[in-house]
Amino acid sequence: MLRALGQHTLHIVDELGDFAVFTTRGFTAAIGSRKLGRRIVRAIYEQGVRCVPVIVIVGIFTGLVLGLQGYYVLNKFGSEGLLGTLVSLTLVRELAPVLAALMLVGQAGSALAAELGIQRNSEQIDALETMGASTHAYLVSPRLLAALVVFPIQAAIFCLVGLLGGYLSGSVLLNLQPGVYWAAVYKAVDPQDVAECFIKAVVFGLLTISICAYNGYNAHRRRGSTGARAVSASTTRAVVFSSIVVLAADYLITSLLVKHP
């Protein structure tokens, strides 16, 4: 029992170290890599442009629900004028970076893990290695660098669409004065909140894309599964781990950046 626990702990520590080296190499290998710009643009398209519809849909419904719930709660205290404050701070500080990251994990992260897993399975990664190419520079670096750009933009889109959703349910459906709503938004959000949103988005992007890339890249090392099963197991693991890490990192960053009264 104790032996198994020790072995499991050693395995986790070993994997964490391996993951840290993998991520570091993902950045350092980018130096001097040819046609990196073209691959970054493609990665931005895959993580960014393709995921905009899902971000918009989830963002608008999140705003609509926040507006609806917030209006009825605040109305009990006669404070519905603060709806803009509630919606904007909830979105900017928490929901936009977290939900945008979770949506990106579900769409772009899972696709990345599966793609790299299949490339590993079909020896495409081995082929890159035998030709002397840096697999990290070719496969990982563009995705990591693209994530640093894409995640903050997606979080910003989520915020704007969410605010619009709050406006639609609060002002258009429930007759709160639009001026009151937007003035509260304007007053509530300060640059530090926006900075917190972007810091979270960048950290989540870095963590989730490297977790998904790591799992796909190492699909052949999964114990107990090979071939297509290894790819599906790696993809599932990538999505589950990324989602957990996003929530854990959110708590950590919030506790570091939270404004004390």
């Binding site: 046609k35 079909s122 020896e123 081995d126 082929a127 290695e129 035998t130 030709m131 190419a133």
Partner: protein, 280 residues
């Protein structure tokens, strides 16, 4: 492509320079020892074919040479330099001068035919883009793939994919090419074409080739030397002529498998009971 197979080139005299010198390579996967001290000597500029039954570890052996699989024991020397984990420079140099043709081709399926061929030059050299394109187009032209340059590997037939993999392997003008079952799954006509291509380009570019296959007749015609891997060890290495004359029981069993099958089938037709070796 349709020309008859060339006659084998003369085997270099004994003592000629060894380009690849493999000694005692051992590889275990858990309890299973796949390679148990394999030796192979590959003279420069020759075609050396490693023969063996399916599942004898031929591909693992080739992957050990290429550095995809790390051997547990043994030494591999390439052009006089030991290739091991501690000698990263020698390994990088080996990768620069060596190409590997995978059994399943391992083409990058998200890249076009032209991009696949250009990839090794693009990712490992500082050659200008225009020159990369010229060399990639030249390799495609040599393998009759020019008109398919904008297609994706999945849109090509098996034979074309093999040619594409060969184009990608030779575009860097390697000094050593490792071929892992280059004719696996091909019909006899295409099999001949692939061996023909290998010998033709080996002559043209002068690279050293190491093949693993179980296609005996073609290998004997196309190779300067053949080796037989069985039971985790190299049971034979020599010229095709020596292979044909060898009295080594394992060589005979492999070489005379068609005769053995013919005898077995004749006995079965006569109503005799046959016990195969695998049943014992």
């Amino acid at each position: 492509m349709s020309a008859p197979l060339p006659v084998p080139v003369s085997v270099p005299a004994s003592g000629s320079e060894l380009f690849l010198d493999i000694r005692g390579v051992t590889k275990r996967f858990g309890e299973n020892t796949v390679l148990a001290g394999v030796d192979l000597a590959v003279p420069r500029g020759t075609v050396v074919t490693v023969l063996g039954k399916s599942g004898t570890g031929k591909s693992v052996f080739l992957k050990c040479l290429a550095g995809i699989v790390r051997p547990d024991e043994g030494e591999i020397r390439f052009d006089g330099q030991a290739l091991n984990a501690a000698n990263a420079l020698a390994r990088a140099e080996f990768r620069r001068r060596c190409s590997y043709l995978f059994q399943g081709n391992a083409l990058l399926d998200s890249l076009t035919v032209l991009e696949n061929v250009a990839l090794p030059l693009e990712q490992t050299t500082q050659i200008p883009n225009r020159e990369i394109r010229r060399r990639a187009m030249e390799a495609l032209h040599q393998l009759d793939l020019t008109k398919h340059r904008a297609r994706y590997p999945s849109q090509l037939s098996g034979g074309m994919q093999k040619r594409l993999a060969l184009a990608r392997a030779i575009v860097t003008r390697p000094e050593l090419v490792l071929f892992d079952e280059p004719t696996a799954g091909l019909d006899p006509i295409r099999r001949n074409h692939v061996f023909e291509m290998i010998v033709k380009y080996q002559r043209q570019f002068g690279f050293t080739a190491v093949l693993v296959t179980h296609d005996l007749p073609e290998a004997l015609v196309a190779s300067d030397q053949v080796a037989l891997l069985d039971g985790g060890r190299m049971q034979f290495q020599g010229t095709p002529e020596a292979f044909n004359l060898s009295e080594n029981p394992m060589v005979r069993a492999f070489r005379d498998s068609a005769d053995t099958l013919r005898d077995t089938l004749a006995a079965l037709r006569r109503g005799e009971t046959i016990t195969s070796e695998d049943d014992l």
